[in-house]
């Protein structure tokens, strides 16, 4: 048996009540119940990072979080990065530096990279690669992603 539960959480800044099943993962609740489609499903077992979200500011794989666990929490997906019509510097850098091809991994990389830059505003290349090791990309070969993160870090430092 599974239960129906109402989960109250702040999703991308908006206080939201979602009706979920007790068996839903946070990933399923976001995509299928709350209509937040930026978060992607790749492997559904913690290995690819496509489902990366920030849970109370901390990077997690939403496929490995139960929806019921986020009661009272703050959830940020890629939809929460841009401000009004202004892309986040990471999004801008990914576009300018062609850090994506098919794009399925991109929302996860953006969220993971945001978590990195929140904690470490000027990471080394090694720190970027290490931090992003849980995010897989089958298209780009990673180098352009790493460069885009470095680029965004520079932009953020000069504008802040």
């Amino acid at each position: 048996m599974s239960d129906k539960i109402i989960v109250s959480a702040t999703i991308n800044g908006d206080p939201t009540d979602i009706l979920v099943s007790s068996r839903d993962s946070l990933l399923e609740a976001l995509r299928e119940r709350a209509g937040v489609l930026g978060v992607k499903e790749g492997c559904n077992d913690g290995n690819c990072g496509a489902c990366s979200v920030l849970l109370d500011g901390r990077l997690v794989n939403s496929c490995l979080v139960m929806a019921a666990e986020v009661e009272g929490s703050d959830v940020t997906t890629v939809e929460g990065l841009a401000e009004a019509d202004h892309l986040h510097p990471l999004q801008q850098a990914f576009l300018e530096d062609a850090a994506l091809q098919c794009g399925i991994c991109t929302p996860g990389f953006l969220v993971a990279a945001k978590a990195l830059l929140d904690e470490n505003p000027s990471p080394s290349e090694h720190e970027i690669r290490y931090w992003l090791a849980g995010n897989l990309c089958r298209c780009t070969g990673y180098d352009k992603i790493v460069r885009a993160v470095q680029h965004a870090a520079e932009t953020l430092q000069t504008t802040s």
């Binding site: 599974s2 068996r23 839903d24 913690g46 997690v60 794989n61 490995l64 139960m66 666990e69």
Partner: protein, 288 residues
């Protein structure tokens, strides 16, 4: 996912009661990085998750220069490697907590979950063994403690009885002139399951090794506490001979299997190599 209920508890007593009520198909939920995958895989019948992260005691990371370190069973890796006292006094715990999964996994995965999952390759277990970790367990009959080296009883099996949960793991304060290190071998740089892992803790009295503990993982049905390797080091200064004797003892203790990650021969060899390497790092750290 199949049917699955969820309950959050805020006291250890409530957790014990919920585990008893839930029976053999109820599981503790700590960081969920093993148990949610298992619940989804249908290979194990799990119909109830009991979230213990509402209990303060299981989330603590508390150090005291006399008493030592207590790590709550559900404290996630990022809080362990983010803790200044752990960084200063227990670098072997940094070695393992920074390489369990990627950053997203480390946001959730706990050392308690790693121990209770009882995989032979669990990366935190050899470090906890050489650091003399003691598992504090709560259950229907009260509390008991079990040394970490006695906790796992087989792949995925451990000493926890029905209704019991792991509350915390306690480590004594590090002795003067001591050092410890953990390493694992994987074919890539990160995000893989250990082919072999190992940990060593050493204490020196002048140049003489006065005390030593060595542990190996992924080389037997459970992580191993290799007492013969420690004994090979004690009573003399570190030398090529004593290190070779310890490495030989590890190799002899390892009884690995052949699988897709490595062969018996390779794992035996790596048991010796990783024993040597962790001895070297532990000695360096002891000399500070």
């Amino acid at each position: 996912m199949q049917d699955l209920r969820y309950a959050k508890v805020s006291t250890v007593d409530d957790a014990v009661a919920a585990l008893q009520a839930g029976g053999s198909t109820a599981r503790v939920l700590a960081g969920g990085t093993d148990v949610i995958v298992q619940a989804r895989a249908r290979t194990r019948a799990i119909d109830m998750l009991i979230d213990i992260k509402g209990i303060d005691e299981v989330l603590q990371v508390a150090f005291d220069a006399d008493g030592g370190l207590t790590i709550g069973a559900a404290a996630p890796c990022y809080r362990i490697y983010g803790d200044a006292d752990v960084r200063e006094h227990y670098p072997a715990l940094i070695d393992c907590s920074t390489l369990i999964g990627g950053t997203g996994v480390q946001g959730r995965a706990s050392l308690g979950g790693n121990l209770c999952n009882s995989s032979p390759s669990g990366d935190s277990i050899p470090a906890m063994i050489v650091l003399e970790g003691r598992a504090e367990i709560a259950g229907p009959n009260g509390r008991r403690t079990v040394p970490v080296e006695d906790f796992c009883t087989g792949p995925g099996r451990n000493v926890l009885e029905p209704g019991e949960l792991l509350v915390s793991i306690h480590f004594p304060a590090p002795a003067p002139n001591s050092g410890a290190a953990f390493l694992r071998f994987i074919p890539r740089n990160e995000m893989d399951i250990a082919v072999v892992n190992a940990a060593t803790q050493l204490r020196f009295d002048g140049d003489t090794v006065s005390w030593a503990r060595v542990s190996l993982g992924a080389t037997a049905p459970t992580p191993l506490f290799v007492t013969a390797a420690g004994e090979a080091l004690v009573g003399a200064a570190l030398s090529d001979e004593t290190i070779a004797a310890a490495a030989a003892a590890s190799k002899a203790a390892a009884s690995p299997i052949d699988d897709m990650r490595g062969s018996i021969k390779q794992r035996k060899h790596l048991s010796a190599v990783y024993t040597q390497r962790t001895i070297a790092i532990a000695a360096e750290r002891a000399r500070g």
